[in-house]
Structures are given as C-alpha cells and as structure tokens.
Symmetry: C2
Subunit: 134 residues, 2 copies
C-alpha cells in the first residue's frame, strides 16, 4: 500500500525520505567515503546505533537510493552502494557542506574537498559519479 | 551549556539543525511563500501540529535562522522572517526541489518556478534575497 503523502511539494517529498538525522550520513559514507559494509557505517564518527542503521539501510533500499547485494568473497556479508537516485543527492549534500562551512567555525571539511567544490561543483560531482560508473 | 556535537562533519552540523521533517518546510513557507504569521504556517498543506510548529520556530530562532518580532499593528501577534543564515538554505532547498522533480512524478513544483531555477539558480536566489533586503 502506498503511504499517504503529505503534499505534492517537492521539498516534502525529499524530506519524507531524507528528513532525519541519519539517512544522508549513510549516503555520505557511501558516496564521499567509499564505505560499503555495515561495520564501516557503524564506525563513523557520529556513532549511529545498530538498530537505526539497520532501519535506515532498509528504508534507503526500499526508496531506491541504495543497492544491497551479497559479497561474493564473504558469504554472510552484504555490500551496499548508492544508486543513481542516491548519487543524485550529491548536489544537496554539497550545498549543506557549503552552508555549514559558512556558519560553523568548528566544521572541518577537508580543504582539498572544499577547493574542488569551489572550483566546479559539476566537475566534482562528475568525478564522484564516475567512480560508480553512472 | 553547549550541546555536544556529533562530529566535525559539515553535513552533520546541517542535519543537527534541519535534519527533520518540518524545519525546512517552515523555512520554505517564509522564503518561497512569503508567510509571516503563526497561523499561516499552520495552514500549510502538510498540516503541521501546533506543538511541533511552536518547537521548530523556537529552535530555528535559537539557531539564528529566523527572526521573531512583535507585529506593531497587532499587539499579540508575532512576525517571523528568515535571517541571512536562513535564506542561505535556499541552494539546499532548490537542489531538493530538482531531485524530487526528477524522481517523483507526483511532485508539482510551479512550472514558472522550475523554469527560473533551470535558467539560473543564482539569479533565482538573488531575486528572493532581494525581497528580504539581504
């Protein structure tokens, strides 16, 4: 059964999927930090709890933002990766990075990353997408 | 007392402020729909509850994203408006609009708005900021 939507507003649509404190961090881990395994997401600085991580991975897969497949080298492990829909959140993530860099002096994005973003967001995004063959 | 931060990641910083289903919708109402009064936010299509709205307005004010001032014409009313920090979330909001427009066929952003965004995001943002004299 399709869940009732709150409105036809595109911002609402996005927030219904990524409007929480964790979903975008999981996407960030995959897209910017090349994390693939459950234990790698668990190791992030934000100390996500295992039940929240399991919930968000399932939700992101259901919403078509990530793929989950068996790891051929480790029978019991799964490999997670972003879909094109997930990768297409990069522009949103980049705008958040720039906003926080402007307003939070304690924020520490890698200087090399900021430099690339400031030079050309389009090229920065293309380079990341290329790694995932989209 | 300063709340303990989850990490120095700029995405985490942003999500600690706008990582919920409602904060950005209140910003949207102010910035894109020119809403100013409590009852106007209550009237939005998403049917926000009054306790959530009151909480988010207070939080957004504390975080420096919105101003609250007395309405000189109505003694008991308050007028809310975005600060520059709040307006600077426009690029993030716009990227969400474009992402949703690509992936949700039911999403209905006004065609004139999408046209302006596609022509020039920078000009679209400048035109909105001008209304608020920033």
């Amino acid at each position: 059964m399709k869940r009732q939507k709150r409105s036809c507003c595109p911002i609402t649509f996005a927030l219904d999927i990524i409007g929480d404190k964790w979903s975008l961090l999981v996407i960030r881990d995959m897209v910017l930090f090349n994390k693939r395994y459950y234990h790698e997401f668990m190791d992030s600085a934000e100390s996500i709890s295992t039940n929240i991580l399991a919930d968000r991975l399932q939700k992101l897969e259901q919403k078509g933002l990530i793929h989950k497949k068996n790891d051929e080298n480790h029978g019991k492990k799964f490999i997670y990766s972003p879909t094109e829909k997930g990768l297409d959140l990069l522009p949103t993530i980049i705008e958040m990075i720039q906003w926080s860099t402007k307003y939070d002096p304690d924020t520490r994005a890698p200087a090399s990353q900021l430099k690339k973003i400031n030079q050309s967001k389009t090229k920065y995004i293309e380079a990341i997408k290329e790694k995932f063959s989209y």
